[in-house]
């Protein structure tokens, strides 16, 4: 595949890691339609409503978040889920910290991480070419126009959908993963999170479930040619079609 230069590159094809994720996460058409309200012209108006403090204690953030690509990602996430009277935004949800952890702590596929980072470059290039500013410097209305613009491309839609998916995870997964501080997301959506909840040391990638991986020389029946690698639990897709037993 050729090196993709922008969201609008004709050579872009949705990669398999993403199609798998989309089909298996059961983002079915029924779900889409059920959750949908028509929006005129496709542009949701982002009103700057009077801001009510959603008391989120700000955690001490990793240093990397103060420079790109994290500055841009933070700006995009805050635009996608704005803080307002209607509920906490990405800022209060700590969506950026959650995404940072997805990239750095969770066992996420490298292809997906690369795609998230590349999108930042494409977005800023597009922003520079259209408005001669980087994305973080734009006013809300211009950010909206730009994101609507890239969402018309397959790559742009995939990129935004990926980020929206992680905003939803940040809002609704146990707080130890970095989002949903003090269960702010669950409180907002009146959801009970269950118990016991995982804490540091028992996050899913820390559970001692790792099976030994054996890469054996299958032509040999001696035990010499084996290599034991402890793998960490990796992303897998949930059961697609099923009943609970």
């Amino acid at each position: 595949m050729k090196l993709i230069q922008s969201f609008f590159d004709q050579n872009y094809q949705t990669p398999s890691w993403l199609t798998d994720k989309l089909t298996k996460k059961n983002f079915s058409r029924r779900m889409m339609i059920k959750g949908a309200l028509k929006s005129a012209g496709g542009a949701a108006v982002v009103a700057t409503l009077p801001f009510r403090a959603w008391s989120a204690e700000s955690a001490s953030l990793p240093e990397q978040l103060t420079s790109d690509p994290w500055l841009t990602l933070d700006s995009v996430l805050n635009h996608l889920l704005p803080s307002s009277n209607s509920g906490p935004g990405a800022k209060e949800i700590q969506a950026t910290l959650y995404l940072f952890n997805v990239v750095h702590l969770q066992p996420t596929e490298q292809d997906e991480i690369d795609f998230i980072y590349k999108g930042v470059g494409w977005l800023n290039n597009y922003s520079q070419s259209q408005l001669q500013k980087s994305f973080v410097e734009l006013e809300v209305e211009d950010k909206e126009k730009l994101l609507r613009g890239i969402s018309q491309s397959t790559a742009g839609e995939n990129w935004l959908n990926t980020l929206l998916g992680y905003i939803i995870e940040a809002t609704l997964t146990p707080p130890v993963y970095g989002g949903n501080p003090n269960q702010i997301g669950w409180q907002w959506l009146e959801h009970s999170g269950g118990f016991p909840l995982p804490s540091e040391g028992t996050r899913f990638y820390e559970v001692p479930n790792q099976q030994s991986r054996v890469i054996a020389d299958t032509t040999s029946h001696t035990a010499k040619n084996i290599e034991v690698v402890n793998i960490i639990a990796r992303r897998q897709l949930p059961k697609g079609k099923g009943k609970k037993a």
């Binding site: 798998d20 994720k21 089909t23 298996k24 996460k25 983002f27 079915s28 058409r29 889409m32 959750g35 949908a36 309200l37 028509k38 929006s39 012209g41 496709g42 108006v45 982002v46 009103a47 889920l81 307002s84 209607s86 509920g87 066992p107 909206e144 935004l160 929206l164 998916g165 939803i168 995870e169 609704l172 997964t173 146990p174 959506l189 009146e190 959801h191 999170g193 269950g194 118990f195 016991p196 909840l197 028992t202 899913f204 990638y205 559970v207 001692p208 479930n209 054996v214 054996a216 035990a223 034991v228 639990a233 990796r234 897998q236 897709l237 697609g240 099923g242 009943k243 609970k244 037993a245």
Partner: protein, 574 residues
């Protein structure tokens, strides 16, 4: 060290054998492919349980090939396999000590007498390989009672038209019930249905060294942190190990059962936790790795006397695999149409619904257009449930439609509104329909000749053909369930019945029977061809019944364990 019994697998089919035999003084070895987790390692974590699925192998490392039917342009049908690492459709259900029983919902319905003699009751169905069981309900009944006692099943008996005979009453009282259970009861009565309590393999009070249920509201598909859920690990293996006679070797992947030139088993070959090849020997061998993997292991265990795989000289291993037919459905209760009290009742989280309908376990309805022209057929069970996983529930909230009805992403205030609406304005009551998956020639396990697992061994190829009659029954039952939801005042009532198998509900592949030509096992689940080989997971079932499998697998494994005890005494005496 040589053992009396070596068991491959540690789930619902394996653990009763380990428990019973260890208790009787036999030295038992359990080889389990996955790690040994305990209550301390189970949390209410949607990422762990489904979004990242950490209790199962990575599909790149271990997978299946699923064969579906397609059609050429000329109308000719053909079967095409797809590796699950490509499709993402996992057929693993819990690769840990205790197996999938750690993650079950524990709906413990017994089979009914009629399930043991479908063919003689309803007649043959063209295109299906239905056979009567070589045992009757009465043979299994004492063991259902034993499971209720030793694994711990909470429930209560009520009289209803399809109540099966019982020798004992429940020892553990029913679990706390959600308010909606009484809504179901009321609506059922109104339209002439019998809503019956669902027995659950979850302790309603502390017993046998285990705590009672904590009502966290997250149960189905989650590992239990209190020990209340009757997994083979919590309920049986812990006791077996504590007694000193049972050794569990986790992270031990069995790849072959070796036989000598006389066809006698010489040992179980496995990779240990460090990846070294090891051999285990015993007097009696038991295989219980869940239906697909059990057939795969036998097929892979070729020997001089068994060129087509162990116990497979009649070509029956892997055949007549069954899943659970039926489907799912749902209805929504909109808060703005309900009183404040009703809304508060609906919002309750923790207690169980525990209601089912079995009014059509046998269908006798002229309107029913099945194989029998009189409208008589085997029907099934309908269970009710809520889904709790919030990320799954939110999925789709970022999608809307534009003015041309095209899907498009939404964000900003629209996304917040979608989420708020999804979570705070209604609650969905779901149902699941369980009916027989008719065994047929297009549903079986074989070895794939291209795809191997990370150890280099051929993976199981599973053809998933279904009989159309399954859909007819499933749709009939779904309509009955929909009627109840409507009578309850639910909106947006719908259901979906398809021929896709639920990958967590499987049985068959080594069915038992009196005729070695058409079955793999005899009525004691002992291989016709191999004297000291028993299979005690769901593989033995010629027909699956119309309820989830785990209870029957447990009960049958206890039954076989009693037989193995006798056999072992004979062996030791001789």
């Amino acid at each position: 060290m040589s053992y009396d019994i070596c068991i491959v697998g540690s789930g619902a089919g394996a653990s009763p054998v380990a428990y019973s035999l260890a208790k009787a003084g036999a030295k038992v070895l359990v080889l389990e492919k996955g790690p040994w987790l305990t209550e301390k390692e189970f949390y209410k974590d949607e990422l762990a349980i489904s979004l990242r699925n950490v209790y199962n192998p990575n599909l790149e490392d271990e997978q299946h090939v699923i064969e579906e039917q397609y059609q050429h342009d000329n109308g000719e049908a053909y079967w095409q396999g797809e590796a699950t690492s490509e499709s993402g459709w996992s057929f693993w259900n819990g690769t840990v000590v205790g197996g999938s029983s750690n993650f079950m919902s524990g709906y413990f319905h017994r089979l009914k007498p009629i399930d043991f003699r479908l063919k003689s009751t309803f007649g043959a169905i063209e295109g299906a390989n239905v056979e009567d069981w070589p045992i009757s309900y009465q043979d299994l009944e004492p063991y259902y009672a034993q499971v209720e006692r030793d694994v711990g099943v909470s429930g209560k008996t009520v009289n209803h038209p399809n109540q099966e005979p019982r020798s004992t009453d429940f020892i553990y009282p029913p679990l706390a019930e959600h308010a909606i259970s009484s809504w179901i009861d009321k609506a059922a009565k109104l339209i002439g249905y019998h809503a019956v309590p669902v027995p659950r393999a979850i302790l309603s009070k502390p017993a046998m060294g285990r705590q009672s249920c904590e009502y966290s509201g997250y149960c189905s598909s989650y590992g239990c942190a209190s020990g209340a859920k009757g997994s083979g690990r919590a309920a049986l293996l812990n006791h077996a190990v504590a007694g000193g006679n049972c050794t569990i070797k986790p992270k031990s992947k069995v790849y072959k059962i070796a036989t000598d030139s006389n066809g006698k088993i010489t040992g179980i070959l496995y990779y240990d936790a460090q990846g070294r090849k090891q051999t285990a020997t015993a007097k009696i061998y038991v295989v219980a790795c869940q239906a697909i993997e059990t057939s795969r292991l036998l097929l892979a265990s070729k020997g001089e006397k068994f060129p087509n795989g162990l116990a497979n000289n009649n070509g029956q291993v892997g055949k007549n695999l069954v899943f659970s037919a039926g489907g799912t459905g749902s209805g929504d209760f909109n808060y703005d149409e309900l009183s404040e009290q009703q809304v508060n009742e609906l919002k309750q989280v923790g207690p169980f619904i525990n209601r089912s309908l079995q009014d059509w376990y046998q269908i006798n309805d002229k309107e029913f257009k099945g194989a029998n022209s009189q409208g008589i057929a085997k029907g099934g069970t309908i269970d009710f449930l809520f889904h709790q996983n919030p990320v799954a529930r939110a999925g789709g909230s970022q999608w809307g439609v534009d003015e041309n009805e095209n899907n498009q992403l939404v964000w900003g205030e629209q996304l917040k509104q979608n989420l708020k609406q999804e979570f705070t304005t209604y609650k969905t009551l779901r149902f699941e329909v369980f009916n027989d998956w008719l065994p047929n020639d297009d549903c079986f396990v074989s070895l794939d000749d291209g795809v191997t697992d990370k150890w280099g061994d051929a993976v199981a190829k599973v053809r998933i053909g279904y009989h159309d009659h399954d859909l007819t029954v499933g749709k009939y039952l779904s309509k009955k369930a929909e009627k109840l939801l409507t009578a309850m005042g639910a909106k947006n009532v719908s259901s979906s019945v398809s021929g896709y198998p639920p990958s967590n509900l499987m049985a068959g592949g080594c069915r038992f029977g009196d005729d070695p030509k058409t079955s793999v096992l005899n009525k004691y689940c002992q291989a016709h061809e191999v004297d000291n080989l028993f299979i005690t997971d769901g593989s033995f079932m010629p027909t699956g019944g119309s309820v989830p499998y785990t209870f029957t697998i447990y009960a049958n494994a206890f039954r076989v364990a009693d037989h193995i005890k006798q056999r072992l005494l004979q062996i030791k005496g001789s």
